[in-house]
Amino acid sequence: MTALPEVGTRRFRMPAASLGAHAGTRLSVAILVALGILTLVALFARLLAPYDPVQPIGALNLAPGAEGHPLGTDSIGRDILSRTLIGVQVSWFSSLIIVASGLVIGGLIGVAAGVFGGWVDAALMRFTDLFLALPGTLVAIAIVAALGYNLQNTLIGIAVVWWPYYARIIRGEVKSFAARPHVEAARVAGASRTRIVFRHIVPGVVPTAIVTASLDIGNVVLLLAGLSFLGLGQPAPAPELGADTARNLSQLLSEWWVPVIPGLAVLVLSLLSNLGGDAVRTLLAKRR
């Protein structure tokens, strides 16, 4: 019996794993390990980076493979490897922060709406729909443009428009679980309201939330890169993948590696996180 989702939630079915419904478990694990390594690299980027990312330390525009500069140097003589490492750190953790913020804010609102129902639900969801119906990215741009261009404001801008997506999904899940017999059973068995919420409903929502979030990171990585491409990200000289690509784009035809390498880093990030999302889904599906 395919239950028919209500008007609001239908927009947010979880996307199918792009790698066929059930990617091999081993593959999934491998992908997650890769992600773990990536995160470690990002975490210890400062230690791994051979040089200070913002200081000119070598000749200008050395091609990759140059002595001491495996990825070469940029037009200011900064070590591209170092900049890319730090850039990965910035982009990766920024994306995680955004997704986390969405998960937390959206989660709270979604759970509240789903649990209390009634006018609370109505009010919260009206609010959420309102945000959903606005063109998020544009609003984000407007916000950053208003607050001033820097990474912090960019994160704020995105976070402001990012949570409703989660609120919707989580609220929908909460509602569906709340309607399950086991919740009624718990009620009859005399479990307190809070207990029902946190032991009989929320745990069921977590997997969906996790999968949704992990599938989302990739988008955020790209969005961030795009915004900093437009100059809404880290102001120079701080390293940031999107911005580094954008600023040095003029060199594409003379010293291609300067803009291309950070761009590739973005590609790897978002690709890995996409695959990661699917992997998470697969593994959770297997566990179910």
């Binding site: 019996m1 395919t2 209500e6 008007v7 399950r180 017999p181 086991h182 919740v183 009624e184 059973a185 718990a186 009620r187 009859v188 068995a189 005399g190 479990a191 207990r195 032991r199 009989h200 745990p203 069921g204």
Partner: protein, 595 residues
């Protein structure tokens, strides 16, 4: 007399959540033109897979491996080319699936869905009338969700008979329907056969249903045919222990109320060793060592005598017919259950449940402004004495479940009031599986019930262990999650949760409707025992009159939110007063008791 379908040592193995298992293990049978063949078996016996295999529609997602042949007309549904199979489905086959709601395209007008088979609206309309749909022209343009269950199933039937198929495969066509509608659908099938002269394969888990209209019955067990023969033969002279078991564990309107219900021995053997010999041997009361090692072939039942009849009635068992039939004749008597004591002691001052002028109205919020009011209960007055057991019978929508939910405090009382005695009420739900929180262990679930007692760890553990033991579950179960339990075990856990602290009133909402006959019987036994041992009042909701009669000292018949009849169980069954009760009784599929 030619056969419309011939199945020759059909073997099918499917992958279910990652594990490949043999679902059909050498099926041989043929469907004769114009006959109704009943396929009977518990869930998991492979009967539905057989149906799909006959249509050549085994789910690709299950990566089926198929051996043998299914001949329909002169096409082999196993090895034929896709377009050939489609041709057969178009011209030779008609299908009726279990759930008419999900089996019809929700976004397509029913007429159009019939047209897909008839390619001619006039014909479609004619068929709709033929399958007994009043003012077909009107209904032609509605969507499935705008029709009642019975009508939907009739639409399915119209689709099935479209193009005058030589064979209609009906897979549990009645299970999702109310008793009264069930009867109608069965009649419909018979009429279709008579009118269109097609054969029908009727797949069902209920011997009685098959018995009502089938010419021949095939009893399936674990992917093989245990016994196959004329309905009369199977019902009255079963020659396979399993058939015997089914017949005896089946609940009927004259099953003795004062005795334990007879049940099949629960499965103990592992899948591997079951499949070594006769799959039934581990549960078979008559098993001999040969049964455990060698698969019995399908052989004529009538011992070596008239060759003619030999094809009629076949069985797969090492024991001789006489042994089996001998067995069926002795041990009619089952041990009596401890007579519910309290029913006598109903001099209890105040009743356990007192319901006065109870009405409940739901407002369904259709999208947008449109709201619909549903009067689920229209003035219920009911008083249940302490220790009494009352069965509430009714069809879906009669409000019986709502009544129970109101008592349990899950649904609101719009007017009127419900009073419960001291220790309040606990409830056992229809689908035990979904009534247990999937991610909590049995232990967690039970512990939750015990929290008010503020016991220390050890005590709690002991209490849980004991009550599990009491209900016939190993203590180790407490570390498992519901998904790791069998259906029967889950229902037992649910019962434990309800009774680990004995309530005054135990509310049972069709606790057995999802279980196989034998399992159901054992659960019912359990409830009755608990009732007497824990001295509980029981309110038992069911759609099955036979069950109602067995579980209740008193039977209350409900329809459209009101109580139409109430009285001592046998009285209501034997001498129904309200005509609704009569119609219910009339439509109960019955088969004579074992002679």
């Amino acid at each position: 007399m030619t056969d419309v379908a011939t199945v020759r040592d059909l073997e099918v193995s499917l992958v279910r959540d990652g594990v490949r298992s043999d679902v059909l293990r050498g099926i041989d049978l043929s469907v004769r033109s114009g006959e109704i063949l009943g396929m009977v078996g518990e869930s998991g016996s492979g009967k539905s897979v057989l149906a799909l295999a006959m249509m050549g529609l085994l789910p690709t997602s299950a990566q089926p491996r198929v051996g043998g042949t299914v001949g329909i007309g002169d096409t082999d549904m196993v090895n034929g080319r896709p377009d050939e199979l489609r041709a057969v489905r178009r011209n030779e086959l008609g299908v009726i699936f279990q759930d008419p709601m999900t089996s019809l395209n929700p976004t397509m007008r029913v007429g159009a869905q019939i047209d897909e088979s008839t390619h001619d609206s006039a014909e479609s309309l004619r068929l709709m009338t033929a399958v007994g749909i009043a003012d077909a022209a009107l209904r032609f343009t509605v969507y499935p969700h705008e029709l009642s269950g019975g009508l939907r199933q009739r639409i399915m039937a119209a689709i099935a008979v479209a193009g005058r198929p030589s064979l209609i495969i009906a897979d549990e066509p009645t299970t999702a329907l109310d008793v009264t509608v069930q009867a109608q659908v069965l009649d419909l099938l018979r009429e279709l056969r008579d009118e269109f002269g097609c054969s029908v394969v009727l797949i069902t888990h209920d011997l009685a249903v098959a018995a009502q209209i089938a010419d021949r019955v095939a009893v399936m067990y674990a992917g093989r045919i245990a016994e196959l023969g004329p309905t009369e033969e199977i019902i009255h002279r079963p020659t396979h222990p399993y058939t015997v078991g089914l017949l005896r564990s089946r609940l009927s309107l004259d099953t003795p109320r004062d005795r334990r219900l007879l049940t099949l021995r629960p499965e103990t053997a592992s899948a591997a060793e079951r499949l070594k010999g006769c799959a039934y041997h581990s549960r078979c009361p008559l098993a001999v060592e040969q049964c455990g090692v060698e698969q019995p072939p399908l052989a004529p039942a009538a011992e070596g005598t008239a060759e003619v009849s030999s094809t009629e009635h076949v069985r797969a068992c090492w024991r001789s017919v006489s042994d089996v039939q001998g067995y069926t004749h002795d041990t009619l008597d089952a041990p009596p259950i401890a007579a519910a004591p309290s029913s006598g002691a109903s001099d209890a001052t105040q009743p356990a449940v007192l319901i006065t002028g109870l009405t409940t109205v739901f407002t369904l919020k259709g999208g947008g402004r449109r709201r619909r009011q549903v009067h689920a209960l229209r003035g219920i007055d009911l008083s249940v004495a302490a220790g009494e057991a009352v069965s509430i019978v009714g069809e879906s929508g009669s409000g019986k479940s709502t009544l129970l939910r109101v008592i349990a405090g899950l649904a609101p009382a719009t007017t009127g009031r419900v009073q419960l005695a001291g220790r309040g009420a606990q409830m056992v739900f229809q689908d035990a599986g979904s009534s247990l929180t999937p991610w909590l262990t049995v232990g967690d679930i039970l512990r939750e019930r015990l929290r008010p007692l503020k016991l220390d760890r050890a005590a709690t553990a002991r209490r849980i262990g004991d009550s599990l033991e009491a209900i016939g579950l190993p203590e180790t179960v407490s570390t498992l999650r519901p998904a790791q339990l069998s259906g029967g075990q889950r229902q037992r856990v649910a019962l434990t949760r309800a009774t680990i602290i004995p309530p005054s009133v135990l509310l049972c909402d069709e606790p057995t409707s999802a279980l196989d006959a034998s399992l159901a019987a054992s659960v019912l036994n359990l409830i009755r025992e608990l009732r007497s041992s824990l001295d509980m009042t029981v309110l038992f909701v069911t759609h099955d009159l036979a069950v109602a009669r067995l579980m209740g000292d008193r039977v209350v018949v409900m329809t459209q939110g009101t109580i139409v009849e109430s009285g001592e169980a046998d009285a209501v069954i034997r001498h129904p007063e309200h005509e609704y009760t009569r119609s219910l009784l009339a439509s109960v599929p019955e088969i004579g008791v074992l002679s």
